[in-house]
């Protein structure tokens, strides 16, 4: 096996891993701010990307405006889910499984809506750039560089937001202890809504970044949710940096499985290794100290 092939596998694995990481980052943000597993996160990414595709292909809008609209729609949709449904479940003291079932059901609904509007075809967005680079024998597209840059920007932005802004701190406090937060003057419901809005925005960013490389379709949501969730759990669930490490780990495992074992077994190998990692370090790769993250 040549070094060039290995380098290419690593480059592809890191690119895919960063997409999983971006989805996982959004799920970590929602878990961090609400203690809920958002099982519709991949579908929100698809809705954001599909909206942008619609604006470019049908409405003939410029790409930047279409991308903005994609982010806005996913953010508004996520916010409405919180205000219209999640809040009602909280008011009725619903348990975790109710929230999980709600977001699973909504995920299917969003997929069905995308199928209704777009049909079964895959749609691509224009790439952010068309340059191709060669690094250590591996071919790297400019879109990958954008993904790396935006992932780093989001990670650092989230770190600063949670650590240094009162609003970010209040969002974390509201999820850690709602009663303690309310008696400390924090509007817990508002914080949860803000969390869902931020999560929706992040889902759209992930969807918009992947769509120039892999065509968006109604079937894409569940696999993004699954891989993103695995990335987030692997990283400790509340820790954005952990989601990044987890996503890249999954991407690399998949890609190396394709090269060294079989493409048909990539998911089985990657997820089996994840199970082993979770048994060995149940608090995630970064351990207990990384759970707060930021």
């Amino acid at each position: 096996m040549s070094m060039m092939l290995l380098a290419q596998a690593c480059a592809t694995g890191i690119t895919n891993g960063l997409i999983y990481a971006l989805v996982g980052l959004g799920m970590a943000v929602i878990f961090k701010g609400s203690r809920l597993i958002n099982a519709m996160h991949g579908e929100l990414a698809v809705v954001g990307a599909a909206t942008a595709v619609y604006c470019v292909e049908i409405a003939m809008w410029p790409t930047w405006l279409a991308v903005t609209m994609g982010m806005l729609i996913a953010m508004v949709l996520s916010t409405l889910v919180d205000i219209g449904l999640v809040r009602r479940l909280f008011n009725r003291n619903a348990r975790e499984e109710s929230f999980l079932l709600l977001t699973v059901g909504l995920g299917f609904t969003f997929s069905a809506a995308v199928l209704y509007v777009f049909g079964r075809e895959e749609h691509l967005l224009p790439a952010f750039g068309d340059e191709i680079y060669e690094v250590a024998g591996a071919i790297i597209r400019e879109q990958t560089i954008w993904i790396v840059g935006i992932a780093a920007f989001i990670l650092i932005g989230l770190k600063l937001f949670y650590k240094y802004t009162d609003f970010g701190l209040a969002m974390m406090a509201a999820s850690i202890d709602p009663d303690g937060a309310a008696t400390t003057g924090i509007n817990v419901r508002l914080m949860r809504t803000a969390t869902f809005a931020l999560g929706g925005l992040m889902a759209a960013v992930a969807g918009l970044l992947v769509t120039p490389m892999i065509g968006v379709s109604y079937q894409m949501g569940p696999i993004l949710t699954l891989k993103g969730f695995a990335a987030a759990v692997l990283g400790g669930l509340t820790n954005p940096l952990g989601a990044l490490v987890g996503g890249i780990t999954i991407g690399l495992l998949e890609s190396l499985s394709i090269v060294y074992i079989s493409s048909g077994l990539k998911d089985a190998v990657a997820l089996s290794v994840l199970i082993v990692i979770m048994i060995l370090v149940p608090d995630g790769i970064l351990g207990r100290s990384g759970r707060k993250g930021g």
Binding site: M172, A173, I176, G180, A181, A182, N187
Partner: protein, 237 residues
Amino acid sequence: MLTVSNLTAGYGVPNILQGLDITVRPGEMVGLVGANGAGKTTLVRVLAGLLPARGGSITINGSDTTNVPAHARPKLGLAIVLENRNLFGELTVAENLRLAERAGANRPKKFDIPRIVEMFPAVGEKMAVRCDLLSGGQQQMVAIARALLLQPDVVIMDEPSTGLAPKVVKAILEVLRGLCSEGMSIVLIEQNIGIASSVTQRAYVLSTGRIVHHVADGGWPAFLHDPHLVSRYLGQH
């Protein structure tokens, strides 16, 4: 000043709180004592706004707060230290206090971090430590510090002595006495009659959701020497 009039509340049918009347004047530390199941924690949750009142009213400094949401009550001068402290365990002590400082920013400033550190030196030493890594006593001090940074006029303390060493309890009670002498109103909710009688001027005895006895100012010795009252309402001897 805190006034509770004919307050009713509960989780199902019938009501747990059945028409409570309580008054706490400025600078007073008033006890609220009762056995397990008397309704103390339900009362705290209603005062905090975490459980809606079904009837009656709650007034703080003349403002009716009965239907004010929990997060808006600190702005009216109310701070609550819940029984299990409800700190943000994954955040540091400094971050817990910062959130309270922000919430109390629009109220007349009586407490700041240097003053808190002076009152509780142990809090000052642990500013960068996550709250879930603190001892029970340190957590209680942080919980009180967080409540004080809301700049309250009335503080409700729910069983502050639970699970703490006598030395720590003594230190905390000493701080509460000092706060009262500055004009703060404190409601001390306690199951431990010894602690309640040692620091409060007077007290309400709660049993099955009703105020069944009022220990008047200076009335603690008589109450404690009446074994019938103590055993009947508090289940203690």
